[in-house]
C-alpha cells in the first residue's frame, strides 16, 4: 500500500490535461484539482443537457480478496453485500462506527467470487484505511489500494453514447447493454454505470498511463471537462449527500437521509453500528435530512439556521441550482417538521419549502 499522507500536494495523471483545458486548480483533500474551467454554470448545464467528464482519480479504489471477504464486508458495512448476486453489481453503503455514526459513504462492486472492489472518498482515505485495517484483524482477506488506477466519470444524457463510440465493436456492444448500477471489466478497464450527478453515464477506472489518452478521446468525441464546482451543484440537485458536509461520524444514517442504505434483514447480521441504530430507530430519530427550496430571493448556504414549528435545524449543503434557477439545499431539521420553514440569511427570515430530494433527475425538475 502506498503511503502518500505526508506529501504536500498530489497530482492525478490528468493534471496536465486540466491545465491544458484552462482548469483553475485548487487544493481538494491534498490534491490539486480543477474547480472549474471557466464557468461553473455552463459546465453544470453541459452535464444536464449533453455530456461532461470529471477527473475523480483522487478517489480511493480498494480491492478486497480472500475466502472471508463476503462475511467481512457484511460485518463492515450497514448495507448488505449479500444483495450482490450478479458479477459487476454495485451497492451504495455507509461504513459506520459503533455508535452508528457515518465514517464514510462508499460504493462496493461485486467483481467475482471472493473479490469485491470499494471506492471511498479521498478526504477520508487515511481514516477509512485505519478503521478497515483494524476491523480486518482475524479475517482471511487481502486489501490492496489501487493507486495504479485513474478514474474518469462521464455523465450526461449523451455520455454513454459518446463513451461507446471509443470502445470498438465488442466493447461498445457490451457497454450498451450494461444495466444501471452495474460494472464490467473491459481489457484493463472497469466500466460502471454509476455516477454522482443524477444523470446517466459511466465511471471508468483504468491504468494511470491510459488515462490521458482516454481523456483526449473523450474530448474529441465532444465530452467537455467539468470541474469540482459543478460536480457539487449537480450532486446537490440530485439529492446526493456529500461526506463531511451532510453527514460525518457524529451523524447516523437515519438522520442523514440514508435509511434506505441500511439492510435490517437478516436480523442476525451483526454489522458495526447495528445496535446503536436499532436503539435510535426504536426511539425515533429526533432529526431528519430533507430538501429545501427557497421561495424568496437569495441563496441557501451551509450552516444557515432553519426555523420550523418544531424547533431549529441547519442547512448542511446549499447553493443556487443552475438547472432550476432557484436556490436549493439539504438541511437537517426536527423530524416532525413538514411543508414549510424559514431560513435565516443575514438577519432576515426567508421562506422555504420542505421537499423530498432529489430536486433534479435525468435532466427533469422534480420540485
Amino acid at each position: 500500500m502506498s503511503d502518500t499522507e505526508n506529501s504536500k500536494s498530489q497530482r492525478t495523471p490528468l493534471y496536465d490535461k486540466h491545465v491544458e483545458a484552462g482548469g483553475k486548480m485548487v487544493d481538494f483533500a491534498g490534491w490539486e484539482m480543477p474547480i472549474n474551467y471557466g464557468s461553473q454554470v455552463t459546465e453544470h448545464k453541459q452535464v444536464r443537457e449533453d455530456a461532461g467528464m470529471f477527473d475523480v482519480s483522487h478517489m480511493v479504489v480498494l480491492d478486497f480478496k480472500g475466502t472471508q471477504v463476503k462475511v467481512f464486508l457484511q460485518h463492515l458495512l450497514a448495507n448488505d453485500v449479500a444483495k450482490l448476486k450478479d458479477e459487476g453489481k454495485a451497492l451504495y453503503s455507509g461504513m459506520l462506527n459503533k455508535n452508528g455514526g457515518v465514517i464514510d459513504d462508499l460504493i462496493v462492486y461485486y467483481m467475482e467470487e471472493g473479490f469485491y472492489r470499494m471506492v471511498v472518498n479521498a478526504a477520508t482515505r487515511q481514516n477509512d484505511l485505519k478503521w478497515i485495517l483494524e476491523q480486518l484483524e482475524g479475517y482471511d482477506v487481502d486489501l490492496s489500494e489501487r493507486t495504479d488506477l485513474s478514474m474518469i466519470a462521464v455523465q450526461g444524457p449523451n455520455a454513454r453514447k459518446k463513451v461507446a463510440s471509443l470502445l470498438g465493436n465488442i466493447g461498445s456492444k457490451r457497454a450498451h447493454t450494461l444495466k444501471p448500477f452495474f460494472g464490467m471489466q473491459l481489457d484493463e478497464s472497469f466500466i460502471a454505470r454509476t455516477g454522482y450527478t443524477g444523470e446517466d453515464g459511466f465511471e471508468i477506472m483504468l491504468p494511470n498511463e491510459q488515462a490521458p489518452g482516454l481523456w483526449d478521446g473523450l474530448l474529441s468525441a465532444g465530452v467537455k471537462p467539468i470541474g469540482l464546482g459543478a460536480r457539487d451543484t449537480l450532486r446537490l440537485e440530485a439529492g446526493m449527500n456529500l461526506y463531511g458536509t451532510d453527514m460525518d461520524e457524529s451523524i447516523s444514517p437515519l438522520a442523514a437521509g440514508m435509511s434506505w442504505t441500511i439492510a435490517w434483514e437478516p436480523s442476525d447480521r451483526d454489522f458495526i453500528g447495528r445496535s446503536a441504530l436499532e436503539k435510535e430507530k426504536a426511539e425515533g430519530s429526533p432529526m431528519k435530512l430533507v430538501g429545501l427550496v427557497l421561495e424568496d430571493k437569495g441563496v441557501l448556504r451551509g450552516h444557515q439556521k432553519v426555523i420550523t414549528d418544531h424547533g431549529d435545524g441547519e442547512i448542511t449543503s446549499g447553493s443556487f441550482s443552475p438547472s432550476l434557477g432557484v436556490s436549493v439545499a439539504l438541511a437537517r431539521i426536527p423530524s416532525e417538521a413538514k411543508d414549510s420553514c424559514h431560513v435565516e440569511i443575514r438577519g432576515k427570515q426567508l421562506k422555504a419549502r420542505i421537499v423530498r430530494p432529489p430536486f433534479v433527475r435525468n435532466g427533469k425538475s422534480l420540485i
Partner: protein, 131 residues
C-alpha cells in the same frame, strides 16, 4: 480574459469602481477582476435607495454559485439609484462588469474623497501584487 480597467474610473481595494455620471452622482460596480474571482453571479442584494452610507460600509451582497461576497461603499454618501435589472439578470455583473452590470449610484458627501481612491494603473498594480 483580462478586460482593461477603464482609465476614467476610480477604484477601491475591495474591487469596486466608480464612474462620474456628470450630475453629481457616481455609478458603482465591481471590477472585471472581481467578477472573475466570484464566478457566475446568481443574486445581488442591492442597497436601499436613499440610504446614507459611510466609506467602506457593507452595503450589499453579491452571491455567486460559489459563495456570498460583501460589497462595500467606496465613500461616504447617499444611494440615489439602484440597478434593478440585476434582479432578473444578475449575470450582467459577469458579462458587463464596467457597463450594464453597474450596481448602484451614490452622491458623495465630500467630492474630495474621490482623490483617496486608486486610478486604473494603481488598481492594476494593487491586485497583481495581491495575487
Amino acid at each position: 480574459m483580462s478586460n482593461e480597467n477603464p482609465s476614467d474610473l476610480r477604484y477601491t481595494k475591495t474591487h469596486e469602481w466608480l464612474r462620474d455620471n456628470g450630475d453629481g452622482t457616481y455609478a458603482v460596480g465591481i471590477t472585471d477582476h472581481a467578477q472573475g474571482l466570484l464566478g457566475d453571479v446568481v443574486y445581488v442584494e442591492l442597497p436601499e435607495l436613499e440610504t446614507e452610507l459611510t466609506a467602506e460600509e457593507n452595503c450589499g451582497v453579491i452571491e455567486s454559485v460559489k459563495a456570498a461576497s460583501d460589497m462595500y461603499s467606496p465613500l461616504e454618501g447617499e444611494v440615489t439609484e439602484v440597478n434593478e435589472e440585476l434582479d432578473s439578470e444578475p449575470e450582467l455583473i459577469n458579462s458587463a462588469p464596467f457597463g450594464e452590470g453597474w450596481i448602484f449610484a451614490i452622491k458623495p458627501k465630500n467630492i474630495e474623497d474621490l482623490d483617496e481612491l486608486m486610478d486604473a494603473d494603481q488598481y492594476e498594480a494593487y491586485y497583481q501584487e495581491e495575487a
